[in-house]
């Protein structure tokens, strides 16, 4: 029997599933090697019997947690898909304010009391609720990495997700370092696997694939000085995906970690 795969979405733009839908004719190869039993974006059938659950999106409400736990209990392997699921992604931007203030800001005076759909808590990544077996990072994901993970799981091997930073891939692409162009790039501390797509196209890395190691504060300050960059630039670069590295409320939380996680 072929491995059964189901896709689920939580708080997200569903853009990572769209990346999979965008595999186009390769989708046909994909359904040759696995049975896709649930994939709201491309099919209406659904089954609760599956081996691999692929989760896109962050967890924002008690009802999400409940649904996620159910999925976990039904699957053998759980894969977090995309930044919202793997790190919390841009949904975590709002964690810098108390959740009550966020709800107030968005819904103003609408009557949402006792409505579980609006009963939000601070954004969580999937692994803050249940154990995750494999991660497909990125905003959006890299389709090649998705294919690598799916083929690996179909072959029964552990997918290899890079533990080295974007700089490695960026250097292999022989890009002009963006620091030398006066841009603050998170490439040196962000997990590779995207083939350095942003720096290769002239945009600094925003760290969507997650931070590998937090550098020494003194070192960061020196770099800012060496490349004539400001603290503000570093701050703005970190707010999109990495408020856990740089928290505007608490200021700099860059502390070296001895080991990668």
């Amino acid at each position: 029997m072929k491995t059964r795969v189901a896709f689920f979405d939580f708080s997200s733009c569903e853009g990572c599933q769209l990346q999979i839908a965008n595999l186009e004719e390769e989708i046909l190869d994909l359904i040759e090697i696995v049975d896709v039993v649930s994939f709201r974006e491309v099919m209406k059938e659904h089954s609760n019997e599956y081996d691999i659950a692929v989760i896109e999106g962050s967890i924002m409400r008690p009802m999400d947690e409940h649904r996620l736990r159910k999925i976990r209990s039904r699957c053998k392997i759980l894969v977090a898909l995309g930044a919202c699921a793997t790190t919390g992604g841009i949904n975590k931007i709002r964690n810098q304010w108390p959740v009550e203030n966020v709800i107030k800001e968005v819904y103003k005076d609408a009557d949402i009391k006792d409505n579980e759909f609006f009963n939000a808590f601070q954004t969580k990544a999937v692994n803050e609720v249940i154990p995750v077996d494999y991660y497909i990072h990125g905003c959006p994901i890299n389709r090649d990495e998705f294919k690598h993970v799916i083929t690996s799981l179909a072959l029964g091997k552990k997918p290899v997700i890079p533990t080295y930073p974007v700089c490695v891939e960026c250097k292999k692409n022989e890009n002009v370092c963006l620091f030398e162009l006066g841009k603050y790039c998170l490439g040196p501390i962000t997990r590779a696997g995207c083939n350095a797509i942003c720096p290769t196209n002239g945009s600094p890395c925003d760290g969507c694939r997650g931070i590998l190691s937090k550098p020494d504060v003194e070192c960061v300050m020196e770099i800012l000085q060496r490349y004539d960059l400001t603290y503000e630039e570093l701050k703005s670069r970190c707010t999109l995906y990495n408020t856990n590295v740089f928290n505007p409320k608490d200021g700099m939380t860059l502390v070296r970690r001895s080991k990668n996680d």
Binding site: D29, T151, L155, C167, V168, K171, K172, V176, E222, K259
Partner: protein, 648 residues
């Protein structure tokens, strides 16, 4: 004809040089690449017209190593459905590289020493053979470069043609027959005069004066400075700023370590084995299947990079593996990567005469054996589940020839689409076409092996590495200590020495084996058989028993067995002790052996590291300057006891 250092020199006008380059571009046989701009920087890239060529560049982002060891390279393609349908990858068509600076040419000559040794890298060799190098003397010195201090700012060899800018024209020094022919075929030129030759020398002398960055320590002294300062606080201190980004290794012309991984198509029908650049600064560089990382601390990885360049490779090959191009200094954001700064910081500290203390000479030079990357086809004959975690395989090479190994050697087991893993051979040498391995399920390859059945196909490379010199053990007492899965490679030695034919060559044999618990003890039946052989004494102990274990033997660590050894039976000088076990075991067992009076030179160990290529190229298995895949895995303890990374 005028000559400089016995080389023929021609003169070509700037206009005629353009015509020459354009003629080369039109010549379809070769890809013509040269230095051109990329934004504010320079790179080597395909040339469409001579006008793109920037011979006045300072330094390129990447060195030309990318044309010989590409960042991503397909070593072979394979089919997953038809086992062992492997196609060796085609190597790119012939290429002409225009504008290579002398330091990069010297870096390629260094790479040759590593990649074209007795175990040649076929892909690298093909590219070297079909590439023509047109060098150019430096016109603008890069701010970060210290090539003059490294004496790599000029070169007399390694090029087919070398251009030197003489203000209004170029001098072309002919370095090879290939270069000469190319020039004759496509260029209009005249012979150089005595004045021109003098001018070339002046230009080269003048280049040396333009370097702002200078070494305070001659490159010949690097090895001795590093040998004396291994524990200097500089490594820890400087590495605190390291972001572990690996950029310094990627852009370095003499960092040529690599990783290999298998990729498969989404329909799971086809796959490729890809080689890609790896760097010793990255944490997973030394990660092995069981999850152990041998150089976990960034300070140690940072130090390793400099020692490889300034001590390990110099001791092995005779060259300092830094050409002073300064690329790492440019790429490193916190500016800690530049070897010139590091060596200068150490300049007023001591030197050590014992420069070779991190390196041992390989015992036997391995003969060339066809291609180093393509495995031989083999078939699983028999499998047996030994324990929860270990499985036994009998494997036969499809050419029906014996593996030809000696005890202690290993093979790279290859499963297409999954990868390769180094596995010790567990059977003794034999004339049979099959051999045996036992694997513990830890990584992808071993997990996949667990699901394989008799008749399934595998790839085998090897035998690899240095095994036990069984001849030198003759007429000696043997004391064999195996801990955990160390019994697996030890079995290859035991089978050899207890063999009817060989038994009489050795005096009495003691086999000590410590397993974690009864359920993990391997080869128990064989162990009992060994006990029955004359003058073979076996002791088995388990660290602990858990409830339900049926165990009447010893309990306790393997170290508890040594006091039982009757010393008077052992003439310690005439005892050879062999130890194979987990890293933690060595220190304690060796202490016991020393207590028994067995000298270090009589002790042999087998060490585990990440043996990826198996042929001393990829760099992953290094213990200081030693390659475990070549000089090991079997070592004389005396040779490695002072290597700081051996028993950490």
């Amino acid at each position: 004809m005028t000559q400089s250092h016995s080389k023929i020199v021609k003169i070509i006008t700037k206009k005629d040089l353009d015509t020459f380059v354009n003629n080369l571009i039109k010549n379809e046989k070769h890809n013509v690449v040269g230095v051109k701009t990329k934004g504010i920087k320079f790179v080597f890239g395909p040339l469409e017209n001579a006008s793109e060529l920037r011979l006045d560049y300072d330094v390129t982002i990447l060195p030309p190593k990318k044309y010989f060891l590409p960042p991503y390279e397909t070593l072979m393609d394979f089919s997953l459905n038809k086992p062992f349908n492997v196609k060796e990858s085609d190597v790119a068509k012939p290429r002409i590289i225009i504008g290579v600076h002398p330091y990069d040419i010297i870096a390629l000559e260094q790479t040759d020493k590593v990649y074209l040794d007795s175990q040649k890298d076929d892909f690298y060799k093909k590219r070297r053979d079909n590439t023509i190098i047109i060098g150019v003397d430096i016109q603008k010195v890069s701010e970060n470069s210290f090539a003059a201090s490294m004496k790599t700012h000029v070169t007399e060899s390694g090029f087919d043609l070398m251009l030197t800018y003489l203000g209004d024209k170029y001098a072309v020094t002919i370095g090879s027959e290939k270069g000469k022919k190319l020039l004759e075929k496509y260029a209009k030129m005249i012979s150089a005069t005595e004045v021109d030759i003098k001018k070339i020398e002046e230009v080269r002398k003048n280049i040396a004066l333009q370097f702002k960055k200078k070494l305070k320590v001659d490159k010949e002294e690097w090895s001795s400075v590093l040998a004396a300062n291994y524990d200097h606080p500089i490594w820890e201190k400087r590495s605190q700023k390291c972001m572990e980004c690996g950029s310094c290794t990627m852009v370095c012309p003499t960092c040529f370590c690599y990783d290999v991984k298998d990729e498969v198509s989404i329909d799971l029908k086809e796959g490729s084995r890809i080689r890609t650049w790896d760097g010793c600064l990255l944490r997973d560089f030394t990660l092995i299947g069981s999850g152990e990382v041998f150089r976990d601390d960034i300070g140690k990885r940072y130090r390793h990079r400099f020692y490889r360049k300034g001590n390990y490779l110099p001791e092995r090959y005779g060259f300092v593996a830094c050409v002073g191009c300064g690329r790492c200094g440019i790429a490193c954001l916190p500016d800690i990567a530049d070897p010139c700064d590091v060596i200068n910081d150490l300049s007023h500290f001591e030197r050590s005469e014992n420069t070779g203390k991190f390196f041992i000479k390989q015992k036997t030079e391995v003969a060339e054996k066809g291609t180093i990357h393509i495995p031989q086809s083999a078939t699983i004959k028999r499998t047996e589940r030994l324990t929860e975690m270990e499985m036994f395989f009998e494997i036969e090479l499809d050419d029906k020839k014996p593996l030809g190994h000696i005890p202690g050697q290993f093979v790279e087991v290859s499963i297409f689409g999954v990868g390769e893993a180094p596995i010790s051979v567990s059977s003794g040498p034999s004339s049979s076409s099959s051999f045996e391995i036992v694997v513990r399920r830890v990584g992808n390859v071993t997990s996949r092996l667990f699901r394989m059945k008799p008749g399934d196909k595998l790839g085998i490379r090897g035998p690899l590495g240095n095994g036990f010199d069984v001849k030198s053990f003759e007429k000696k007492h043997l004391l064999l200590s195996a801990g955990g899965i160390g019994i697996i490679p030890m079995r290859s030695l035991i089978q050899y020495v207890v063999d009817d034919e060989n038994r009489k060559k050795y005096k009495d044999i003691t086999i000590l084996y410590g397993a974690k618990q009864p359920s993990e003890a391997l080869f128990i039946e064989e162990f009992e058989d060994w006990c029955k052989i004359d003058d073979v004494k076996c002791e088995l102990t388990v660290d602990q028993c858990v409830e339900g274990d049926c165990w009447t033997g010893c309990t306790g660590l393997i170290t508890t067995l040594y006091p039982k050894i009757k010393l008077d039976r052992y003439d310690s000088e005439n005892t050879v002790a062999i130890v194979i076990g987990p890293p933690i075991m060595y220190r304690y067992v060796i202490k016991c052996l020393e207590t028994l009076g067995i000298p270090a030179k009589n002790i042999f160990v087998s060490l585990e590291r990440r043996m990826k290529c198996g042929v001393g190229k990829c760099g992953h298995c290094q213990i200081n300057g030693v390659y475990v895949c070549k000089e090991g895995p079997v070592f004389n303890y005396n040779d490695i006891k002072d290597l700081p990374e051996a028993f950490e």
